[in-house]
Point group: D2
Chain length 282, copies 4
């Protein structure tokens, strides 16, 4: 039994759903999940579909899919083999809470991915990588070595065929070259409910403004700081009694859960991105 | 332009989605919403679909739907004309918060329904009905008049072609006859997160147990007390400082929102019921 | 039995709590609530205390309080008689959901205040005021009449000895004169989780940014737009399926609850304001 | 500088707060935190207080505290030296998520306690204990060895002067002897919002009942199963699309956060227990 996931988007038109589902039916596929969304403002149709087949060649399927459907409706599409595990690289600095959380989920089988390596600009968390038996590369970043460090990162990413990157509280600005190569494939966790408190030290800003709710936001990295497509957000209540340390501690729990949720959506091919916004098919 | 909503459930089989969507496409319908769910334990397929047509006869459509689809797949189905407003009767006793909330939503156009009348076993809330210009029937209920009261209620419901009933903190047990006639069509609000604290005085029980979270649950009435299919639940945090009055006050806000949400799901034909559980297609 | 509420703030020093509580004990008062907070950054001590007395003159109490405590510790303080109901004026424009919510809570005894009148720049909601038997004043506001309208508002507020003002979705900028006279006494509801989406049309901005959470914020009005001390915030989850109308509808429920909570905190003298932030003693 | 935490409860009487705070002031203590609560139904007064002293003997303090205050008001009390770290034993079986979470918090300095050892009836999680350099004792439990296992557990607990025990998804019923010795000192995590779904397999029961919200509850163990004083609860939304595996996965995040919160409250001496309920002074 072969299972695939299909993501489609195109201009909204009549008959797309019928055409796609009939195409699957003609290939004796059984649709086990279908969801669609129409963005009425922009007139764009989005669809996500999971289907099972008894005998199946993914190459033949793709060829016919292009001929019969994609060309006709001018679709942008992706077809994933459900057994393929995406390769995820983790970038960290010195904070360990997100890393521990990701690795313990990975260990317990919650994340359907491979983790070929962890990269850091510091050596502080190397022992955690060792505990979980994952290769750790220390690539220091300073003003003078920035260019060099980026090239080392890119070499590692390319030589391991990395599919997407998770910045698990990586305290460096990612280079334009990386962003270009991994468009909508670099997941960041920002410790505020964006668009509030963009940039550095959001918990300090939250304390200063006297908010009653703090948050965390996971988003894809784009060139504009903290302005990429939002994948997941969550919040927690705070009061006047919370000090900056309390906010940071409470925030850690938010960051862990929000980042893990975003990673899972990405791994399970639930996310589509259009016009700097995400469509997430649960 | 005609818009319809279709709800289907049947044994899970290959090709249902393709068959249904092709059927719609053949009638030149444009599917604007589709969602499906498969209950893997029970092997049941559920589907909800909204479709628009330029020219359309609902009777012809139904006839062909039965011939081409329903018989073949042994479907249970409902087809609703989107412009039809369901007729909702409201039952109340003495608490006014849910009634005020429903009527002010109704007034502001949030509820796509008609409210032919309000029934109560007390006269306390008659003035609210008058303020909102909705007929109010006072049907007292006592041990000796119970039978008689039920008949009066049924007469009212039938003579107004009521589609569904909302018990907006109606403090009486509803009769078996009513439940039989309005299966999965009587929406109740219970002031606890069911199945905790079934029956009377749930806030008192919550206080006694020392829970840190209280809740409210909206469900369809079945013969077993507080055991019908759950439509919506919500919760709020409480602490040791909350007295019984505080719980009741906090709970009122939960009850209002939870009941209103359940009513909207029902009105918008988003709810399907199977095996004492709801499938809610958002 | 007389009950009073005391709010105090001053520079943090040793012995304040012992001095205050002994002072109460010497007057045979029974403390039924005490809470305090120290802002360590600014070194300010805050305290809220409720106390009951058998025989009591509030004037004598205040005089001795000043002599014995306030002068010694250089306190800012307020002493409220618990039976005094603050007088609340409501300003509205055309949206009715917050008004309905406030008035139905008022009707059911949830708000310990008086509502001498409702003011609006439109006549649309006059009928609601009439239903609840509350005087309604229509004061139109246009560019040319702005000055005049403000004077009429101030006359009304002063002639009724209004203690605080609630802007229940009042769609006008409040004048500087009003803000000066009612410092930390004008409660607004803004339909975003501030500081995100300051200004007009926050739901439209939220939709455009693709946030996964929307919010509402109640705050005291200061001269800087949407930048006053935050009293209460709450949020709700949204997804890509929510249209602008869905956000507005979902937001209404947030606005109602958040504004009502802020009003209750204010009425129950639970709020202290310092340095553009609130301390709220639950 | 010496810092202590005092917990008091006694029959509610006039003058307690003044007497306690004056006592502290007389010893030149600076109160940095005070909170109190009166249970009006049972007429019991509760208080928690943190105070700092320049020079201080805890033994002298306790002696005078008893003479001057505790005897007079018939108080039950506890006085903790803030620098004392309570000793926490962790009991686990095979689930690793709570253990990883606790140990990574411990590692990052979030938990002010010592962890002398981890006990398990299985060897599966020994490697995690080793990664974190914490002694691990494998004490198998079977019907025939139950008595023996309990004695081994008690020996370990007593020889290490353990203050409290955390059952981090320990899948065994704890013996009466242990409960007697560690009253209100054994913290359990139950994977439902108690009192709903007491006992085994609560996620399965939740799925069967069709709830829209699942929860987790941390409570002190008493002899009655899942009926001890609740310390913390939290919930998460679910829908008809969630399978039993989804509930279990979602629940893991709840369990981790709820248990960690309860542990922190306990460690920070924020919890008092009376009549099977907790008072938690935040």
């Amino acid at each position: 039994m072969k299972k695939i996931t299909i993501q489609i988007h195109c201009k909204d038109q009549s008959g797309i759903i019928a055409s796609v589902t009939s195409f699957i039916a003609n290939k004796s596929g059984n649709i086990v999940y279908i969801d669609q969304h129409v963005d009425r403002e922009q007139n764009i149709f989005f669809m996500r579909l999971e289907s099972e087949f008894n005998s199946f060649s993914i190459d033949t399927f793709k060829t016919e899919f292009i001929t019969v459907l994609a060309s006709k409706f001018k679709m942008k599409w992706r077809i994933y083999d459900a057994k393929d595990k995406p390769k995820m690289a983790i970038f960290v600095s010195k904070y360990d809470h997100c890393l521990y959380d990701i690795l313990s989920r990975y260990n317990s089988g919650e994340l359907h991915c491979e983790i070929p390596f962890i990269v850091s600009n510091h050596q502080d968390l190397e022992y955690i990588a060792q505990n979980f038996n994952i290769p750790f590369y220390h690539i220091p970043v300073s003003k003078s070595t920035k260019q060099d460090a980026e090239n080392k990162q890119l070499d590692l990413l390319n030589s391991h065929n990395i599919d997407f990157i998770v910045l698990a509280r990586y305290m460096q600005i990612v280079s334009r070259k990386l962003i270009d190569q991994f468009q909508n494939k670099i997941i960041n966790i920002h410790h505020s409910f964006l668009p509030a408190f963009v940039g550095a030290k959001p918990y300090h800003s939250a304390l200063k403004r006297g908010v009653k709710i703090i948050g965390a936001t996971s988003h894809y990295i784009t060139e504009e700081l903290d302005a990429g497509p939002i994948i997941e957000q969550d919040v927690a209540r705070v009061t006047h009694t919370h000090s900056i340390d309390d906010l940071i501690t409470k925030g850690r729990d938010l960051e862990k859960i929000v980042l893990a949720t975003a990673i899972k959506h990405h791994i399970n091919r639930k996310v589509m991105v259009y016009n700097n916004k995400t469509i997430i098919f649960y």
